[in-house]
Symmetry: C2
Subunit: 413 residues, 2 copies
């Protein structure tokens, strides 16, 4: 089954916003076995939109359209789609009710332009928007499905999850697909592939394995197609079990979640607490953890100690350690981690100190040299990493390295 | 002048990566007065690529292509472009030299597949890749310009800046365009538009004003077209001056740089130092600052104090303050900022405490309530913000609010 995504609006074409919607939609459809043939971003221009719709319909069976549904004059998606199908607009009562409720809730007067948002092409089924005033629209014409949604990410995402994907599965009677994702850290794609080559060879034709690499991590996604769900599930778990056993310590999760969430979940369940001492990562590890709701149950806080003074004052790193071994050293990383454990009274701590670059490197310690230490009562582990010369990549890779070490230490407890 | 962008490769179509290249390219071209008509992401499929090239050439004069230039079999962009133009591949000596140099530098053996990377369609001009093995390719055929570049962001960006944009300007004799960007914080687009309506009306036809909003900030971009560069520059500065005067305290910069960089630059110049005390932003403000090279000149560090214990222990917030007013209060924010100033011995400090959500809200202090304080010796300013109920947005908006307050206090010094 093939789909296309069309995003409408000038914001993407002038580079004002990055199109994150399409990647999200592509991933969700991919998980249902729907392949994306093309993603097109086009301007708020009638002829251009009409042409893009016709071209997409030639290539694919499902056409998902986002954007151009606002109340202003330059939002012409709805009128253009009506013209494409040769129908007029009609007022939809449910959609009107939704608009009225939203305006009532925020105590704002309902203008005519807002009322107009409840008008939709006569041949569509309305998909209610629980988060905004523009309704989604579903069309099933000449064997092709078209869905028009707002471009606001959380409005689109809710519609996709609550309505569009279930309706696609039902309408198209999509075959059962089950996925099982294994998150690995610390080994490259080709190394992993070699390690599990024989298991991959044993996979039956209806189970596929995909390698999804991302910044020091590789997700292994097993997908099983067709037939009976329970027996598919069993088979998937069998193969996943073999892979997990083989890959061993590089496996951090048997589900599709971010690395830091693995740590938060595990620690929350065991009522462990965590603190962080960051130098070169400059708050990035703390940010990764605290972007997740509920992180306060585990994460007590931390220190961002860019200067040596703060390493001494907040974390209790000894002056002579800094003097003798330098800020980027096994000794300093160790004292930072142990200092965090002691000062912040957490069960676990992680410390990162390195040279993110582009300045600050030396022959001994070039840009990209990073020491990471993790600690719990009675045990500290420190390790040196050598990354490259790109500042942001060094920050991200250090964070992944730190979380991976923390995961290993944590799972011993 | 119209351009199109075609990105080639399955990673975008399966949602594995977000296409950030296109937005960057669109922005750069836009600044040169080149409008993007369409962005298309297509798969590594010969027929599909051929069709996309032909369609783009019908709509635009410049076609920029990224991706599919790797050494593996599924990278078919080069062969497909050769077929599109009906030419064969030839070995390019300069490109080969570049490949050989890279392999020598990393001490790896040169394989035949790598040598092949130096083969290019016979009708192209090679654009050297200083950061990788795949050469860029420039075609000028039947009045249309095609440029093929690698999909690796930093390789593409360097080629665009060093070669492609200068060559486009020269080849197409693009009219002179000068931009002047004013960064404002804290007021919405429509409010600003009303405030400067008469100035906007005074603009001559060859000067355009664009409003570019982004998370609590609006960039006002003035673009002047054609004619003599010096007199354009003068006119632009005149209008920019009037806008800056009118908008007043909401203007934070007269150039196109991120808000946190405004602060780093100003403080570096005056040798001021900064520390940060974060609760609900959880390290995000520190991360924003430290992602920039040279930030260590200004940023000493900070504390991420999620727990009340750490607010007391690291920042010296009084236990009775937390008890009496709560962690999210003017008093706590003030003591956090003053504590950071005192403990971390910086010239300036900023503190953020709030309820990012989705949990933790109450009737008194609903999710989205944030107190921010900024301090320098002898002066502390605190302010309450009420954001919405989305965790990540609350974190980002709090960071913008904090940096804006810091900017205001800093510029008094």
């Amino acid at each position: 089954m093939l789909a296309e995504i069309i995003t409408i609006g000038d914001e993407i074409l002038i580079g004002q916003i990055v199109d994150t919607n399409s990647a999200w939609m592509a991933q969700k459809l991919n998980e249902e076995g729907i392949r994306i043939k093309q993603i097109s971003s086009v301007s708020d221009d009638k002829q251009h939109i009409l042409k893009a719709l016709a071209e997409a319909a030639q290539r694919a069976d499902i056409i998902l359209i986002t954007g151009g549904l606002g109340p202003t004059k330059d939002d012409i998606t709805k009128l253009t789609i009506a013209e494409y199908f040769g129908v007029g607009l009609v007022l939809n009562n449910e959609a009107l009710q939704n608009v009225e409720n939203i305006f009532k809730r925020y105590n704002r007067p309902l203008l005519e332009v807002n009322r107009k948002q409840a008008e939709v092409p006569a041949n569509c089924e309305v998909i209610l928007n629980n988060n905004g005033t523009a309704p989604g629209m579903w069309f099933n014409v000449a064997g092709k499905i078209y869905v028009s949604m707002p471009g606001v990410p959380f409005e689109m995402k809710n519609m996709m999850e609550d309505a569009v994907i279930p309706k696609l599965k039902q309408t198209l009677k999509l075959p059962v697909i089950i996925h099982k994702t294994i998150l690995t850290v610390g080994e490259g794609e080709s190394f992993l592939a070699e390690k599990i080559a024989d298991i991959e060879n044993d996979l039956p034709p209806n189970i596929k394995l995909a390698y999804l690499p991302k910044m020091g991590q590789v997700r292994l996604r097993l997908s099983a197609y067709g037939g009976d769900e329970t027996s598919l599930q069993d088979k998937l778990e069998q193969f996943a079990g073999r892979i997990i056993e083989r890959v061993g310590a590089n496996v951090v999760a048997g589900e599709d979640i971010p690395l830091e969430k693995v740590i938060l979940n595990y620690m929350a369940q065991r009522e462990f607490t965590l603190s962080v001492a960051e130098s070169c990562t400059g708050g990035y590890v703390s940010h990764l953890l605290t972007q997740h709701e509920g992180s306060s149950q585990v994460f007590l806080g931390g220190a961002v100690t860019y200067s040596n003074d703060l390493k001494e004052n907040i974390l209790g790193v000894k002056n002579e350690t800094l003097y003798q071994f330098g800020a980027v050293s096994e000794q300093t990383a160790t004292e930072m981690a142990e200092g965090a454990l002691r000062q912040f009274k957490s069960d676990f701590s992680v410390a990162i100190t390195g040279i993110a670059g582009p300045g600050g490197g030396s022959e001994d310690k070039p840009v990209g040299t990073v020491w990471i230490a993790v600690a719990k009562a009675g045990k500290t582990v420190a390790k040196k990493f050598t990354f490259g010369n790109k500042r942001l990549q060094n920050i991200e890779r250090s964070a992944v390295g730190a979380l991976f070490m923390l995961n290993t230490l944590m799972k011993e407890s």
